[in-house]
Point group: D2
Chain length 351, copies 4
């Protein structure tokens, strides 16, 4: 089959790779019909995260079940499914608590992130390809109702659950002000998700005009990075936002998110950092009584709720799609997304 | 001053009554600029609840501070305020827990409900009048920003916090299905409030077409009482609603709300019952693992959050207003509201 | 094998019955080493609940895995396990939310309660016997560490999770006063469980001196039914208990539990009612802002936490054991437990 | 009157200072009968935190109301009270949410911490003295029942609420394992507080044997710092603690607390750091899905619950007291506490 293969920084190629096969009884094979490129894929693309050359990229996929192993009992051939970017068993200590990102059985494996990020599973091929082997398929694949089309469903594989996780972690109460730093695809998913918790206002912060425009269309009060701190104070009687969400993944944005939170507020991080350490203002945080939350989203646990919200029309992430391109154009798709060309937002691939 | 005085069932008259006066240091006097007639006022109007003839009715009022006692330190003459229908001290065991409806100091006093419902306060005049004395004013009056006009603000005095309380008690999670029985003003406030908690769908139930139409405009899936049970099952894969809210105040509606809740679900009651006892299906509830919540709303605790939501444009209850009439027309206003004439929904009075 | 067979009211006999067999791939066979008689078994014993003559009773069992079906992957022959009284799949909508009592796959089946109470599973033999077939064994059997002996473990099958469920439903906060009506085995499990949530005091109510004595030994303030209401008011500055738990299963106790709760408090029911309907004081509850919770405990969801608490020595239910008798004495054991002879509390059977 | 005056690092003296006086209507004067020396006082003693020479130290005081201002309505002369270390108004946005440490009116003022730490209040004398002026007295002083003696009550002024705050922030569930780093007075208050939430085990970590002994007496599993990480893993099936609490206030302890928390766990900081910045392992935390909480305790909000717990005998902090000395010996008391002489733990002063 064809897959989007990492060769080195800024060098991905669509090539023939081995067809995936069922390896254990709980595997399923999924023929991909739509895949996404994620902001975190760019860390690999930039060489900031290590990955073995030859690895197929991609952890956002929607498709059709081609085959199931003998131990799969909730799925059958022909079903349309979204594949969670995260593999999880559904039954360990962590999965039972709704924390599949810590799944003991899978070792928190993520598709298309290289051998080490595939946890105990080793070599877990990516989904920017024609097909993928899905381990622990019963808790990793989610059947889709007809009301959710492929373009919509691909958001369920990672970035919508990630935005939602950021909002859940924010512990938003009705009437709260939520400030979201970063209006890329994940940040905008956080905007949509935050609105599910009844805030009086979501303030979206970015420095790129087309991203702020889109935030505004999604119902946020959009503000440029430069004036964000002052605007947030002005709109909260000088207190700061009840909840801030960092959706960029760099120190500047995180420091801003900490400084923009009110005393007793929450800072929720969903941006993926390429660095290992952050200079945390602990004296300031002590005086401000802050809650700081950070983690890989518990995708599998969130998919059922988000799926119902899309199915009933309460959520619709499709306005975030800027490009749908053939799988064979993946190199160009990476280039556009990386350079934020043509008002690039969510870029999808169609095998 | 003029006030709407109860004389007997179906007999209210606008008459001259004594002007209110400051009696204790924590009182304020409020000149009323807008008042509402509440569904629960009809229990008095029907003679179903006892009240002393001569009592001025009304517990929904907005106005301007005319005078404050020496112990009032958060309000001043000339401020526009909404008066919570419920008087509370803000500092007792209950108020500190956000349960002013159980306020120890005020004895859960409600304006315009007769001497016994005024708790320890005795004779607490109603707000369908030109002015009212407000005890414990610092925690009973809430200053209004300019962005909230009088028509909007009157909803904050009772029915919007009541709908919100019903939604809070429902413990709604994103993705839930919420079924609301009763599309009168309180039921529709519950529809608006429930949507703050991110349900995938709010199903509104009533048997009067114009009320269902309005529920639909507010974003609910509206359904006739006759077909409600089946529709709720059909739209929840046979489980029943995660949360049901009773907003009528009679046994039939409450039984329906119990039967329509899924196993492990919550039934939240905000309808005001004129009866004292209800035949609770305890064997059924045991098998279904039900939570049942009922109470007078904690209005004062909810006003600040709801106020911010209105101010920032997230909530707008004004579509519920069907009539705004001069205070002197109060008898006619009661008649219209009681008979559901002219598509009556929320009926306001303007002194 | 031998089992305790229901023949009619007050007539149970230990007889030879068919040996259980694996019927579906997810079944396990468990050889019983310890079984309990539950207060709810007495409803069958009294003829108050219908059950087919010939049914083997008992839903509290501990034993050793004899055989597992081909679809069981978390258990193996020879493991010591406690069998949850409730069969559940672990993966449906309800089980994923920690509500196995509503399990869609098992239909909330309970062992030894007759064909209708066995839900979709039909004829689910009891555990007051030498062996039992356990459907959906992976989520119904729980391996036991050595630190938990059989006498201790049998409490995990039902009554300790039930007491714990009652405490969870009470939503107890540190510093609260909790009043528990009924000091039978379930009530005392609720006493132990309530103490896990940091109440300032647990007030235990009963009219039988030896039961009050035991409550006192477990750390409760014990009080006779006659003086309970006044004592509760006196010890809560006149407010009533923050949380009351009904652990009897009759109208008098439930009415007392409702009346003893403070405004804004919670009434949690774990007693099993033989009646279908209860005269709920709805007018009173409205003025008091009450939460009322009732259900069959979510046993399977609670076993892991309770198991850790016993293993580490924080919980020890063994002081509740009054009798350990051979399985062949089951008729006499029922008689003793039913008549509260010899200070009967928890009565165990040893096959 | 006499007070313990800061003159410079390691130089405190008991001297005559001005008698406190009522300055605003909401002030009260309290004659101190017992005061504590807090671990955070040592930051001043060491010169690590800046404070004006001449400032009277101390923020833990119990005493008797001598006089109240005209605006104080919940206190009267002669009442025994504990004074919260933190001054708060009880009515602002933050106090209403149970976050008095962020009180807008007081500016989070703390007694005896120097002019800048006294927030908007400026010069707020300490309580290691014969008397103190208490601003916003209605929400800063708490009347004591007879059942709570002075030695017990002084813990309510700061360190018991601080330990409790650490436990609340940990979001401990029954069955959890909690690891507490640091067995000084605050750490041991966290041990006692954590046990209110039903953990299966509290693991207490320190390197000083007498402190570990005391932790053990309070019911913790005590372990030396050297072997803590491995012990925590061993006792949690390799996962790490569900909740870790940092009660030291240095980078090493905090790093250990982060590393000892399980995936999806919570790290709660109550140690007071003398440094401003901490090298936070953000990449690690992202993979582990961590919650990190830090703040000055919301003392005033916690006092009522803790007071009930002490009154009913559930909590008793007195085993922590190692020394009770006359106020005039304050210099020696500081020396003993600072040097951990004579198994020093909580050191109290008696004016």
């Amino acid at each position: 089959m064809k897959g989007t293969v990492f060769h080195g920084p800024h060098d991905v190629r669509v090539e023939r790779v081995d067809d995936p096969e069922i390896k254990t009884p709980t595997d399923a094979l999924v023929r991909i019909t739509r895949a996404g490129i994620c902001g975190s894929d760019l860390h690999y693309y930039h060489g900031a995260f290590p990955i073995e050359p030859g690895f197929v990229l991609g952890h956002e996929g929607v498709g059709v079940i081609e085959e199931v192993g003998s131990g799969v009992d909730r799925l059958k051939k022909g079903q349309r499914v979204v594949v969670s970017g995260l593999v999880a068993c559904g039954r360990c200590f962590f999965c039972r608590r709704g924390q599949p990102s810590q799944c003991f059985e899978s070792g928190s494996a993520v598709f298309g992130y290289g051998a080490s990020a595939a946890g105990k599973l080793g070599w877990l091929g990516g989904e920017q390809s024609e097909a993928v082997r899905v381990p622990m398929a019963d808790y990793t694949c989610y059947p889709l109702p007809d009301a959710i089309d492929d373009d919509c469903a691909v958001f369920l594989a990672d970035i919508l659950p990630t935005g939602y996780f950021g909002a859940i972690n924010g512990n938003i109460h009705p009437g709260d002000t939520v400030a979201i730093f970063g209006c890329g695809p994940v940040g905008l998913c956080a905007v949509m998700s935050a609105k599910l918790f009844g805030p009086s206002e979501v303030i979206a912060v970015d420095s790129i005009p087309y991203r702020l425009d889109l935030a505004r269309k999604l119902g946020a009060f959009a503000v440029d990075t430069e004036t964000a701190q002052q605007t947030i104070l002005d709109r909260t009687e000088g207190r700061g936002a009840d909840v801030t969400i960092e959706a960029v993944g760099n120190d500047t944005a995180l420091t801003s998110a900490i400084m923009a939170a009110r005393g007793g507020g929450t800072v929720s991080v969903i941006g993926v950092f390429a660095t290992q350490s952050f200079n945390f203002p602990i004296g300031y945080a002590f005086m401000r009584d802050l809650t700081f939350k950070i983690g890989l989203a518990n995708i599998n646990a969130h998919i059922p709720d988000l799926s119902r919200l899309i199915e009933k029309g309460t959520l619709d992430p499709r306005p975030l799609i800027s490009h749908i391109m053939p799988l064979t154009d993946a190199p160009k798709a990476y280039e556009i997304f990386n350079a934020k060309k043509d008002n690039a937002m969510k870029v999808l691939l169609k095998p």
